[in-house]
Amino acid sequence: MTMSVWLPVGILLSSFIPGVLIFFQPEERHRLRTWLNLLGALVKLLLVGVLIWGVFHEQVFETRWTMAPGLEFVLHADALSVLFVSLSTLLWLVTTIYAIGYLERTPHRSRFFGFFSLCVTATVGLALAGNLFTFVVFYELLTLATYPLIAHKGSPEALRGARIYLRYTLFGGLLLMIGAVWLHTLTGGVEFVEGGILDQYTNLDQSTLRWIFLLLIVGLGVKAALVPLHGWLPQAMVAPAPVSALLHAVAVVKAGAFGIVRVIYDVYGVEFAAELGVLTLLGAVASITIIYGSLKALSQDHLKKRLAYSTVSQVSYIVLGTAILGPLATIGGLVHLVHQGVMKITLFFAAGNYAEALGIHRISEMDGVGRRMPGTTLAFSIGALGMIGIPPVAGFISKWYLGLGAVEAGAAAWVVPVLIASSLLNAAYFLPILYRAWFKSPSRPWPADRTAGCARELPDPLLWPPVTTAALALLIGLFAAAPYSPLEWAELIAGREYRQ
């Protein structure tokens, strides 16, 4: 009994406590900081393992804390939270290792890792949030914890990128807050319930609910980088590679997408939302975002920028899956939450490695890099092929379920062309990179070769994270139907959401 109360709190604290402790460590206590980080990540992984097992067996994990009458702070673990929590936890561990290698011998590492841990705490917090109020709290916390990470380098460019980020997300947060408060005053507190809850309030005006929906989605859409609210994301690529990786795969962008999923499935209920007629609009926005992001990505020569626009496009797969009514599309959207994360983090790790080892920032500088850095480039290739949706990499599974959901819901006429066009565009901006990397030979010296005298292409903490996540992306696609795979879990969630 006590465990069911303490487990969600424990999962939060396992990154919060190390984070706070790290703030007070002097810069040179490298070893202690590393231990704290890894200990926190491993403890969290262990706790999440227990959580997965429990939620699978329909145990209830819940922590309630009444802050004021009618205002409750609730941590609650359902299948959907578990999906996001396990993704964050696993990728946090990998990213921490990567960051330790990446930031070696740079200043302000205590500050960095402190905020890094807080960022993950906020992400996990909003995954475990049991009601809209708690969600908003962690959502804002995430905004603030990420700002110092983007600005970490301190250059004018970095500060500018971070400022743009802050402007966008604070605006989004404000809208989300207004929407949440409005809904709170109407209903007296909204808990997340599988299958949605608002359809039970028959006294509420439908157009009011539509307006609230709009506020919530626009607020969340800023972080989820829905067009035209995506402007901050390409600017934020000035952040160090581990931050970009976490930002695009787990933390900020994904938090927005996760929020949209929550609002539609567990606040409105997907059937009720369809009844309100708001899903069509969302689907259209998602489709536009998918195509627009890919088109913009085509014209970028800066590798991280191209990846950033690719994120804009790919995260909207999740939103698209949510906006189509039917369990198969739900599965596709939810499973892409995980798949996109694993693949995109691989790509960003690899991009970081290119910059770190050879000073490559631009795609036009990548000629022949495959021979020089085979491990990294192999990982990058798997991630890129997955993004295009080539079987058996994970991205194919997402695309397959999204397409099936669209056909099943009778929306094939516009969703399948969007998926096809997106795949073609993805191929058009990823395959030339692979071609350059593998088939061309270097046409000029590397911009800044820092690997002189090294036996391997990179030190272990930089090489293994992308290789691991690439292998993961391949394995969760190859064994998609195996027990406890993301796909199985997404099917479990979809089953619970459509129980009625």
Binding site: G389, P391, W400, G403, W438, F439, A480, A481
Partner: protein, 538 residues
């Protein structure tokens, strides 16, 4: 036999591909196809296995078609392995040939034994995309050809993907055997025709093929023209709803496109000046015949049981002969053992034109029987097309020598496989000697002679210098200079026609040069009339 054996043929090349950078001997690549050969020969018919945990559940089964494709396909893969240049096998060689080769092989073998749509699709995608590394070459034009191939392949892939979505929701099962429980959606049919049509190179979707065949390295062309191309056909055989009535429009469409393919392949192929191009257009022509036959079967559900197995036989025959011709051509050009190779090439060519007592002839006899009097004109047309292209191919041999040394291993392998290829697919019950089987060959020779006569008359006339392209008669060896333009088939046909229309009939001086008084024109008209009468009477 343990049914897990079924997974071995695709698994072995897949595993080897992971370690390919260390494999320096070609025998690894050669050996990778051996399990497939074994399974094809010794495998227990109709054994099946399901692996529900792999991807979305994979199902393999070994029916007769799969076994035949395994046997003959694996032989071609082995043949190709013998012809990978030693440079490409070294560690650090450009182009990742070994990896591409093994992955493409794995995909090809996977799709042959696939019993469900998704497994087939995975194999098809793996094969199609990996083949990029086989086509990629050092020259700018080879790269361009490979790129064109890749774009076409991707489009085909996505068409297939969309078709799969529709089929999956329609039948609620991935398995082929449950696919046709309900009638197929029209859109899915169209997408299937498109998706596999690119691999099969039906006219309009064939643009990737001539360049890829002309410019790619030999081993790439060998597998591309053999097992890979036939994979598209196998896709149609597996996916299309034979035996259930569908809108006749689709069958008609495929039949029409097939006939167009046969004719276009013949016309464009006949004026090529490079042997490989001729073989490329011969493939287009031949695949046109297959498309037409598939279209016919779609519209005649009652005859499917008889026709489909014969289509498979004919496909297997072509799967063997075409790659063998490519290899033979290469050996010939390298100038090794002419006295052996020329008869062998002629033998292969005869088999390709369905000469009596060869494998091709037997398959064609069986096909005629199965068609039961239908489509006689198509068979005749296809026969003429094949014969024209083969004569052209043999004609070009005489001046396509290049003095280069070649290894003895590769020659030996080719010679060993020769009898298999000539008599593949061993349909002994179709062997017969009939005089009428020679009809297409004779007609083709006559047509070629007339064509040559005509051209000789035209070429004898002075030309404006910028219209070099008109010189189609091989006596002018400008292959290298004109190669680019010659490869462009549309120009090949169009430019001379335009010339004939605008320039040829009146010389700049105003002198009529090819008028109705010209005896050659009368000859041509007479022969065309005879041909028409013949076709109508049959």
């Amino acid at each position: 036999m343990n049914t897990l054996m079924l997974t071995i043929p695709p698994l072995i090349p897949l595993v080897l591909a992971c370690f390919a950078h260390r494999l320096q001997s070609r025998w690894w690549l050669f050996g990778a196809a051996l399990p497939a050969l074994y399974l094809g020969l010794m495998g227990e018919p109709d054994s099946a296995i399901s692996l529900p945990w792999l991807m979305l559940g994979m199902h393999f089964s070994l029916d007769t078609t799969a076994q035949q494709f395994l046997v003959f396909g694996s032989m071609i893969w082995m043949l190709a392995a013998l012809h990978i240049p030693a440079d490409d096998l070294m560690t650090g060689a450009a182009g990742y040939r070994k990896q591409s080769f093994l992955l493409a092989m794995a995909g090809n073998l996977l799709l042959i034994i696939a019993a469900d749509m998704l497994t087939f699709y995975v194999g098809f995608a793996l094969m199609g995309l990996s083949a990029y590394g086989l086509l990629w070459g050092a020259s700018q034009r080879a790269r361009q050809a490979a790129r064109v191939y890749l774009v076409f392949t991707l489009i085909g892939e996505l068409a297939l993907f969309s078709a799969l979505l529709l089929l999956m929701v329609n039948s609620d099962s991935l398995l082929f055997e449950e696919l046709h429980a309900k009638p197929l959606p029209e859109a899915a049919l169209l997408l299937l025709l498109l998706g596999f049509g690119i691999k099969v190179a039906i006219p309009g979707l064939h643009f990737w093929l001539p360049r890829a065949y002309t410019l790619a390295p030999l081993f790439g062309v060998v597998v591309l023209s053999g097992p890979m191309m036939k994979a598209g056909l196998l896709g149609w055989l597996r996916f299309l709803p034979f035996g259930t009535p569908v809108d006749p429009l689709w069958g008609e469409l495929l039949l029409f496109l097939g006939v167009v393919g046969v004719i276009l392949g013949m016309l464009i192929g006949a004026v090529q000046r490079e042997s490989r191009s001729v073989l490329a257009y011969s493939s287009i022509s031949k695949m046109g015949l297959f498309s037409a036959l598939i279209g016919f079967s779609l519209n005649h559900p009652g005859m499917v049981a008889g026709i489909l197995p014969v289509i498979v036989l004919l496909a297997l025959h072509h799967l063997m002969v075409k790659p063998m011709l490519f290899v033979g051509l290469d050996l010939w050009q390298k100038g090794s053992s002419t006295y052996l190779i020329l008869p062998a090439l002629i033998l292969l060519s005869l088999s390709l034109v369905a000469f009596p007592l060869t494998g091709g002839g037997a398959a064609k006899n069986l096909l005629s029987t199965a068609l039961n009097g239908n489509l006689v004109w198509l068979m005749l047309l296809a026969g003429i097309a094949a014969a024209v292209l083969t004569v052209r191919f043999l004609w070009l041999l005489k001046r396509s020598k290049r003095p280069v040394e070649s290894g003895s291993v590769s020659l030996l392998g080719w010679l060993v496989l020769l009898p298999v290829a000539v008599w593949a697919p061993f349909a002994w019950d179709g062997m017969s000697v009939e005089a009428k089987a020679l009809l297409p060959l004779i007609l083709a020779v006559v047509l070629m002679l007339i064509g040559r006569l005509l051209w000789q008359r035209f070429v004898a006339i002075p030309l404006p210098t910028d219209f070099r392209i008109i010189r189609l008669v091989p006596r002018f060896s400008q292959i290298d200079k004109d190669r680019f333009r010659v490869n462009n088939g549309v120009q090949q046909i169009w430019l001379p026609l335009k010339q004939i229309l605008s320039h040829r009939l009146t010389e700049p001086g105003g002198q009529p040069i090819a008028s109705l008084r010209d005896s050659a024109i009368w000859w041509l008209m007479l022969m065309l009339a005879l041909l028409l009468a013949l076709i109508l009477s049959l």
